[in-house]
């Protein structure tokens, strides 16, 4: 557990320093833990666990857009679990249940726990359709067609800087739409 937390903290420090591969690894490493916790929360609230992937994606977006509030001298896990807990409570409340989510839901996940298979998520995909055309095109190109920033820039005759700005705006407005729904 301790080792896992230290590894996450190290990866996040590298990510902040500009290492996107470390960031990718970190997000992949935390996702099974978030997924297991989301399933447990849904199960306890008597909700179908197949909605867990929407919650996982919601958490990942919040982690991404709020990562500047992480203090790089502090461990990463408590910060991550605070965001995850907040988003899980939000999601359950939106589904009409008020329940208290135990922080241990996250902390007690054993490192060896088998990652559950990726369930389908529909909320992000649905909100994607409501974005302004330019943002949607850029996001779709990078997320769905796996194109690089460079290829996307060439495809839409945009500068790479403009693609980066559109990508970030798309992620931010996607998150805002998920919050308002």
């Amino acid at each position: 557990m301790r080792e896992r937390d230290d590894e996450w903290t190290g990866l996040m420090r590298s990510a902040i320093a500009g290492d996107s591969a470390a960031y990718h690894r970190l997000l992949r490493a935390v996702t099974p833990v978030l997924r297991a916790a989301a399933r447990r929360g849904l199960a306890r609230a008597g909700q179908p666990v197949d909605q867990s992937e929407d919650i996982v994606q919601d958490i990942l977006l919040a982690v991404h857009l709020k990562r500047h509030t992480w203090d790089a001298s502090a461990p990463f896990a408590p910060w991550l679990f605070a965001i995850a807990r907040n988003k899980l409570i939000d999601a359950l409340r939106r589904r009409g249940r008020r329940i208290f989510v135990d922080i241990d839901d996250f902390a007690e996940t054993l490192p060896g726990e088998a990652p559950t298979e990726t369930a389908s998520a529909s909320e992000v995909a649905a909100q994607l359709q409501t974005l302004p055309a330019r943002q949607r095109d850029v996001l779709q190109s990078i997320a769905v067609d796996s194109a690089s920033i460079k290829d996307t820039a060439a495809k839409f005759s945009m500068s790479e800087g403009a693609v980066r700005v559109a990508l970030h705006r798309a992620l931010a407005s996607l998150t805002a739409k998920l919050r308002e729904q």
Binding site: T69, S148, I149, H168
Partner: protein, 212 residues
């Protein structure tokens, strides 16, 4: 979009750097300040006898109280903008203005006074105080909330309430230079009521605006 695709997309956006919450808060407050200053100088203005008043320690103490409130509230707001933070360990900062005010009341009690206590407490400007502080607070509160939206507070209503204290502290600092009621009793009564009102507005607005 499946989660692996989302993760890859977030990693592609890793080079994007958001500004720290403190910077966003400072910019938003600086943008809002001219509105409050304009309200102050067109409607109230600094009291004409300010040079004489500055020799009265109780005039100066008003600024100690209001600035202590504003500074403590800024520090607490920035602390609360982190998702894992709570008021514990930081909330006591907000007692600083209360402590200064209590000491000031004690000091005034020990001095011979020309006016009876009730007259000092009610003062001459209580209605102006109750109107001016909340009104001058509103632009600053809007600015503070916009700045704090860059954060991720665990309890948006609490964070909004602290933003209310922050803007009331700044607005009260302006107001204190206009008001001729210098008794700490007046400050304890009317400034407090005005601040409580702004804090309540901040809590309500924060509950909506500071969710992330």
């Amino acid at each position: 979009m499946d989660t692996d695709q989302l993760i890859r997309t977030l990693a592609a956006d890793n080079p994007h750097r958001a500004r720290p919450v403190g910077f966003a808060l400072m910019l938003a407050l600086l943008a809002a300040a001219p509105v409050s200053l304009l309200m102050f100088f067109t409607e109230l203005g600094i009291r004409p006898d300010v040079m004489v008043a500055m020799r009265n320690p109780f005039f100066d103490l008003k600024f100690a109280v209001t600035l202590a409130l504003a500074i403590a509230a800024i520090a607490v707001s920035l602390h609360l903008s982190r998702p894992e933070a709570s008021l514990r360990g930081f909330g006591w900062l907000l007692l600083a203005p209360v402590g200064i005010l209590t000491a000031a009341i004690g000091g005034e009690m020990m001095m011979p006074q020309r006016l009876p206590m009730m007259t000092r407490l009610v003062g001459k400007n209580w209605w102006t105080c109750l109107m001016a502080i909340p009104l001058m607070s509103l632009p600053l509160l809007a600015g503070a909330l916009i700045g704090l939206r860059h954060g991720a507070p665990a309890r948006p209503a609490v964070a909004g309430a602290i933003a209310g204290l922050l803007s009331a502290g700044l607005a009260a600092t302006l107001y204190a230079s206009h008001c001729t009621d210098d008794s700490p009793l007046f400050v304890a009564a009317w400034y407090t009521i005005a601040t409580a009102l702004v804090t309540a507005i901040g809590a309500l607005a924060g509950a909506k605006l500071l969710r992330y």
